[in-house]
Symmetry: C2
Subunit: 568 residues, 2 copies
């Protein structure tokens, strides 16, 4: 029987200490399943187990072997019981060496020689997050190159890097949200071993690593899930089509799959925190929300390992049920992003109230966010056309991640402009101050600290022509109403990708360097000043001076008091 | 601004003490709205208010006047801005005198002279429920005829009648789940005044009244909701199509509509409890679940009125979040039906494990339900093909309604057979004993107490031919696999309806009368014996003797102990 083992990955191909492999695949509609290894002409027949699982123990597959599954299915229903035979990579593949269309490459998760024993993780309130996209952070765009920047990041003062999704996506250029192998580490970034090496290096230097994972949809290319089983349900619709099946018939296989995934990153890659993408699109009406079940498993692992593991969600709902403890009816997530802080801050800084910004008044709402975290906690939202939110009572400041920009807020603009090209240099400093003086967890987006002017645009590298055309068309349509004369950058073009890379040469020049120094001191102040370092929301009072476009933020700690006056 | 008033209905047409009327309609896409009264040639123009509402105060409409709305909408988008004009009844109509296709009839909710001042309601643990279908309970099939049976019901010992849905449905024969005017009381049952009269009579005799309400879908005929506004969302699918919109854009109007509805039954019809139909199909991912918002409003009303109001849900989820208190993260529902007790009981009594019965083992699962309420509290369910349920820890016995049959369990059989024609006379007594000796709230279905042998079949009286054909076809298809040679009763035929009426003449004959006496004594025992009357689940221990097909149920109260041996 397939039961998730907290201490060892079970799904996919895994190696025992004696070198033999155990292989588990969930494929309920299959009538027969075999594993094909390298160029062998002999398939290895898997055994049918309970609840749609298939199993094989074998010594005929070794680490770095290429393999795929052959699945026989009765197709066409009762009138045409012809068997359909499919040859597919492993949905729990750890390495797609040849990309999403290739076979899977076996990988020994336990093969890496970790030297981070002393590292136990970071307390939530100590996270100062640097979000980065592996492909555009450095000229080489891989994990190894990130390692060469760790000392720089330490010097800046950040305590955690957050990697945008690294699960295997089609091609070599992608934000990462088109991943189709949630267990496989992107081949063009260096694959699983390079990721383990990077995390080990981070821990040796005292840096935590957050990984962005996508449990709400799969990408459109290389997506074979429907062939394996009921990974989707028509009961709920998401922006990407039918929702992933967390509560309908067959959900056990899907739930196990994602629980295994979360456990793997913490246990086998020593990741410190997951950032779970857009969990409002994880639609689960079951008795135990999948996020809560993931939390329970991760808590067990944390206890067994004696480490700190955090689960931080991106959530477009002002609903603290997600971040409340499980014993109070919550799902037990440790923290959540609050985009509303960003929206209020940006409108304060002059952003016109288009689209979702229409809900935000500027300084009054920014003050509300300092006081209440959520701007909307029950009021009617004109943009959403409904009442929205409930009060975040009882949730500490460390449960909220704030920023003045992030990959989405930059890249979802047609031209992907960073704030550096949208507001004055003085305003850049004010934006940073607003974030670092907040009683929340600060996050900056790579290059923000030196006012990088290169954009961060939306890019893909699909191979399916229709899909490429559809993405191009969608991107143009998204901005049609706002930009009549400019051209949408072509998401498929390598130029768009290259334009989005950081230009590290700027760091040492003029105002870029001044801003870097400013960020460095601001972060240092945040870490060393006991008032700023304290994230107790009871010791915060913000007031908007709307006529003066100012926010007066008062914070205190024991007998000390600090007043931040922000003049927008 | 339209804000729900706990103490007075606001939606629809309502009369002030001075005789003038206030009219509120929610119709966001409308460009103009008028009210037409009786045969007047002068429309009354409504005023556009905030958030899609329209309002009018007028003295030109009186109670019992006929009226409808005229709605102008820009139709066809920007290229063809031709206006569409619709004449429709009031979605919050209180009386559809001429049926679902007719105009609405104004009704003064405050006109009835209540004489039940002394009645404060019933404690949840004292409910002994008699479920009845108004149309088939008596030969006349209306509210007035129910009143003539109240003394009989008192003699039997029940404490609450539960009316199957009485919201206006198409035609004059329907279970009630095809209702399309949630505020209107079925015209063929006698309309709103007759319902007020019945409830008043019940309270005078010390009987509580539970009303079955349907907040998860509307019926297919006479359903004009989509013309008025975004009552539906494509984000979720239910067995009846797109879900009612409780969490998408425009949800505020839909939520207010149902909150108003729940308040009205308690406040203006003195209903004691609502039985909310299939709330698992109410799909709400918003921050405050609509059930919780209904609970908050009803609690306020109860406090203001000094009465007891209960919310009991039908729920096909073993998820005690629904019935946990709001301060523990629950939705605050007071109780729920547990079909699983029924399924386990019926399999114990010889029901073959077809369909959903396949999940149930008989006595072992019956004992589990006595002990744990939920049979499945996390185990894998073969029928549902997923893990199902979580433990009902902390929930008292009074939160669970149990039965050996109900309208659904009878009527969802192709031939609508009651247990009286399926099991032996001795088994009927055992089934009753199993229900009344449980530490849960007992419910019986009309006629059960005298082993009525007339069936309770599925019937409709639609007027749309395609719809009738579709229902007939669906009904046949549902049973095609099980019944090859028998004919599905025609749901549209009046004969099917008439066959389903109780035959009160049986009550006085032979075994029918013996069973009635047996029920009477059993109910009396249940009410007077302190062990049976105590619904503390900590004082219960059930054990299955599987080889002997027996359940040994032990219950105790202070120093007293009772053992019920059930030999199936």
């Amino acid at each position: 029987m397939m039961v998730v083992d907290i201490l060892e990955r079970k799904i996919g191909v895994n190696f025992n200490d004696d070198g033999s492999a155990e292989i588990w695949l969930w494929a309920p509609p299959a009538t027969a399943v075999s594993v094909w290894v390298n160029d062998s002409k002999l398939p290895l027949i898997m055994k049918k187990m309970d609840l749609g699982y298939w199993f094989l123990q074998t010594s005929l597959i070794k680490p770095l072997d290429m393999y795929h599954f052959e699945i026989c299915k009765a197709d066409g229903g009762f009138t045409d019981p012809a068997e359909k035979v499919l040859n597919l990579p492993d949905p729990a593949s750890l390495f797609q060496y040849d990309g999403v269309a290739g076979n899977s490459k076996a990988f020994d998760l336990k093969g890496f020689n970790w030297t981070d024993d002393g590292w136990v993780g970071l307390d939530l309130q100590d996270f100062i997050i640097y979000e980065l996209h592996t492909g555009t952070f450095t000229p080489n765009g891989d994990f190894e190159s990130i390692e060469s920047k760790l000392d720089y990041l330490l010097g800046l003062g950040i305590t955690a890097i957050e990697l945008m999704p690294i699960a295997q996506f089609p091609g070599n250029r992608n934000w990462g949200y088109d991943g189709v192998f949630p267990f496989a580490v992107q081949n063009t970034y260096g694959g699983p071993l390079a990721l383990q090496h990077l995390v080990n290096a981070c821990h040796k230097k005292g840096l935590a690593v957050i990984l962005d994972v996508v449990y709400n949809h799969f990408g459109p290319e290389g997506n074979y899930f429907a062939e394996f089983g009921p990974y989707f349900t028509d009961k709920h619709q998401t922006p990407w089509g039918s929702a992933i099946n967390f509560d309908d018939a067959g959900a056990h296989g899907v739930r196990n799959y994602f629980i295994e995934n979360a456990l793997m990153w913490f246990r086998d890659f020593h990741i410190d925190a997951l950032r779970l993408d857009a969990v409002h699109a994880i639609q689960d009406f079951g008795e135990v929300h999948i996020l809560s079940e993931i939390k329970s498993s991760v808590s067990k692992l944390a206890e067994l390992k004696g480490k700190k593991y955090e689960l931080i969600v991106e959530l477009d709902l002002n609903d603290n049920q997600y971040i409340n403890p499980q014993n109070k009816g919550g799902y037990g997530m440790d923290g959540q992003w609050i985009d509303e802080f960003h929206h209020a801050l940006r409108v304060s800084a002059g952003q016109k109230p288009h689209g979702y910004y229409a809900d935000f008044s500027g300084v009054a709402h920014l003050a509300k966010s300092y006081n209440d975290a959520y701007v909307y906690d029950g009021q009617f939202s004109p943009h959403r056309k409904k009442h929205f939110g409930k009060p975040a009572n009882g949730n500490g400041g460390k449960q909220f991640v704030v920023f003045s920009q992030n990959h989405d807020q930059i890249g979802n603009r047609m031209l992907g402009e960073r704030t550096s090209t949208l507001v004055s240099f003085e305003m850049l400093k004010l934006l940073a101050g607003a974030v670092f003086c907040s009683p929340f967890i600060p996050l900056i987006f790579m290059g923000e600290e030196w006012a990088e002017t290169n954009p961060f645009q939306f890019f893909i590298s699909h191979s399916d022509k229709d899909l490429i055309a559809a993405v191009r068309k969608g991107r143009k349509a998204e901005f049609a109403a706002f930009h009549h004369e400019e051209d949408t950058p072509d998401p498929q073009s390598e130029t768009t990708f290259n334009h989005s890379k950081l230009d590290w040469n700027r760091l040492d020049t003029g105002q870029h360097n001044s801003l870097f120094t400013y960020y460095k001191h601001l972060i240092s102040l945040r870490k060393t000043n006991p008032i700023l370092a304290d994230l107790n929301r009871d010791n915060v009072k913000a007031e908007a001076l709307s006529n003066q476009q100012c926010v007066l933020l008062t914070r205190w700690y024991t007998s000390q008091k600090m007043i931040c006056l922000m003049n927008f």
